[in-house]
């Protein structure tokens, strides 16, 4: 019996250590963001701030274009999501439900894309976008975001569409519905669970994306949140409290989102991993 208690205690200690390792850096950042620079360098890493320095947040907020970056991120992520879902939804439907010769080959072409690292297309895309003169516009980042979100989306959506019973389409056809009506008003509405999964996976990766934005954009008014956060940190190197505040602000939207939808997000991320 004693052995069991010891084992249980051991298990709890182990799990708690992991919780502390995972959460403490974030808590530390929160405290850090409310301290003065002299408190931060004083070595009292565990202490609460003597006075909560909301000034750090005011500083970050006013000099950091925060709302502009958030707006850009919402816009870019939103467009990417809509385009990814419509494009890959249609092609997945064609791959799984239409009778045509090249369905499997097309599927394979999309699957190879899952393995291709996005970094390896940076230079050619830059040259292409320069020729299209869309470098330093949001189109230059939305295009690669959509292109690289498509493979996983096609994979997840076609996995689901393959399994829906064909009676659904049959009865719609007897009623004389066109294929477009069948797709948009009958098939899409029942495809909600995999669409959720794709939305969550795409949202997390596009909302957080940094390198493409940093390579293809330079105007401050176009930057997305991660790029904006990095630029802010680069500019205010010695103002520790404000940097901390800006990092907290940078993490805030996605953490809020996670608190509201944590169940859906964890489920979506597992589904995405299982299928990807």
């Amino acid at each position: 019996m004693d052995f069991r208690i010891a084992r249980r205690a051991g298990a709890w200690i182990f799990m708690s250590i992991l919780v502390v390792t995972q959460l403490y850096p974030l808590v530390w950042l929160l405290l850090y963001s409310f301290k003065t620079s002299s408190e931060i360098v004083s070595g009292q890493f565990f202490a609460l701030p003597k006075r909560f320095m909301w000034e750090n947040y005011v500083d970050a907020f006013t000099s950091g274009n925060y709302l502009k970056y958030i707006g850009n991120s919402i816009w870019v992520t939103g467009i990417t999501l809509v385009l990814t879902l419509v494009l890959s939804g249609m092609v997945s439907y064609a791959i799984t439900r239409f009778k045509w010769r090249y369905g499997n080959i097309v599927m394979l072409v999309f699957l190879v894309g899952i393995m291709i690292p996005i970094q390896s297309t940076l230079l050619p895309l830059m040259v292409i976008f320069k020729n299209m003169s869309i470098l330093n516009t949001h189109a230059a980042i939305i295009i690669p975001y959509v292109a690289f979100s498509i493979p996983l989306a096609v994979f997840i959506l076609s996995g689901f569409l393959r399994g829906i019973p064909h009676e659904i389409e049959e009865s719609a056809m007897i009623d004389g519905a066109s294929i477009y009506r069948i797709f948009f008003s009958i098939v899409l509405p029942i495809t909600v669970p995999p669409i959720m999964t794709v939305t969550i996976l795409t949202f997390i990766s596009i909302w957080n994306e940094y390198i493409i934005a940093a390579t293809f954009l330079s105007a401050d008014s176009l930057k997305t949140l991660p790029f904006g956060v990095n630029s802010f940190v680069g500019q205010y190197t010695a103002n520790y409290g404000s940097i901390g505040a800006y990092l907290v602000l940078g993490a805030l939207p996605v953490i809020t989102f996670y608190f509201i939808l944590s169940d859906k997000i964890t489920k979506g991320m597992v589904a995405g991993a299982v299928k990807g």
Partner: protein, 307 residues
């Protein structure tokens, strides 16, 4: 839509549609994808055969870029090894995640809080994580938590500028990757453990298999498909490390944290060696495809050996 377009028929549960309908459904996505994923890769292969600084003429040099890359570049091979090293180090997450998942599902009645706290770093941007850990690794006099902690515990001799130390920077980076993704693996394994029916454990306990014995003979074998997922994710994690390295160390100090993709990035966008950068980029694509094939082969072997 005009009725003439719609020539749909349902045969054995598959729709027979006209050419135009098919084109409307397939071409937008396929062409977009080919134009912005495949074509760039092809263009990149072509660039790898020229010498070009972005402006002026492209001089065709054949395979010379590759020759220089494979035989004269002092950064290249170490960066390949480091990429593999980060992959292997990331694999260590999997056994830890399995143990945690088993413990959580055995001892915790309301596991949501634990699992969510483990998972939280996964959804944060690499920029936030990179900058946060840069602050943690800072020297104590600049507010670095890790060094301040060591001083507090009387281990002053252990303090260092973690990201500026040629021996330690790569470990410091690997730890951050570990920290960010361990929660993902715990979540995946935990879901796997939850999906194992409790009937099996009950049946096993009648046969005297409980605790660690049950884990060894029931949980692990039944988890193997889920373990495979974690292994694949961890192995490709070394590529995701790219942004983190750009944010945290930029490949330094003295190129000791350089991986294939950072080397490609800096050669292309900092040194403007477009042709040379494209050769590295082509190598990277080939490297990823070969890694994927090898991983799949390894899994096939393992499955055959198990059956």
């Amino acid at each position: 839509m005009a009725p003439s377009v719609w020539e749909g028929k349902l045969v054995n549960g598959v729709l027979k549609v006209g050419k135009w309908t098919l084109a409307v459904f397939v071409l937008p996505c396929l062409l977009f994808y080919l134009a912005f994923v495949f074509a760039p890769i092809m263009v990149s292969v072509y660039y790898s055969l020229v010498e070009w600084a972005g402006m002026g003429d492209q001089v065709f040099v054949g395979l010379n870029n590759y020759k220089v890359l494979f035989t004269q570049d002092p950064i290249f091979w170490p960066s390949v090894l480091r990429t593999l090293y980060i992959s292997l180090a990331s694999l260590l997450q999997v056994p830890i995640a399995i143990v945690v998942a088993i413990l959580v599902s055995r001892y915790v009645r309301r596991p949501n809080f634990l699992i969510s706290s483990y998972f939280l770093p996964v959804i944060l941007s690499v920029v936030v994580i990179g900058q946060l850990w840069k602050s943690i690794y800072n020297p104590a006099s600049l507010g670095g938590m890790l060094n301040q902690m060591l001083i507090k515990f009387g281990l002053e001799s252990w303090t260092k500028t973690w990201l500026g130390d040629t021996d330690w920077a790569i470990f410091a980076l690997c730890f951050v990757i570990f920290w960010q993704y361990i929660g993902y693996h715990v979540l995946i394994q935990f879901t796997g453990v939850q999906n194992i029916s409790s009937d099996i454990y009950e049946a096993a306990s009648i046969d005297g298999a409980e605790g660690f014995k049950a884990d060894r003979y029931i949980t692990l074998p039944l988890l193997s498909p889920v373990i495979k997922i974690s292994v694949v994710l961890a192995a490709i994690g070394s590529l995701k490390a790219f942004d983190l390295i750009v944010v945290m160390t930029g490949g330094g100090p003295a190129n000791t944290t350089e991986v294939i993709s950072t080397h490609m990035y800096y050669m292309t966008f900092n040194s403007f060696k477009y042709g040379y950068g494209s050769a590295i980029s082509t190598f990277l694509v080939a490297f990823c495809l070969v890694m994927t094939v090898l991983l799949n082969l390894a899994f096939k072997r393992a499955e055959e050996a198990a059956s």
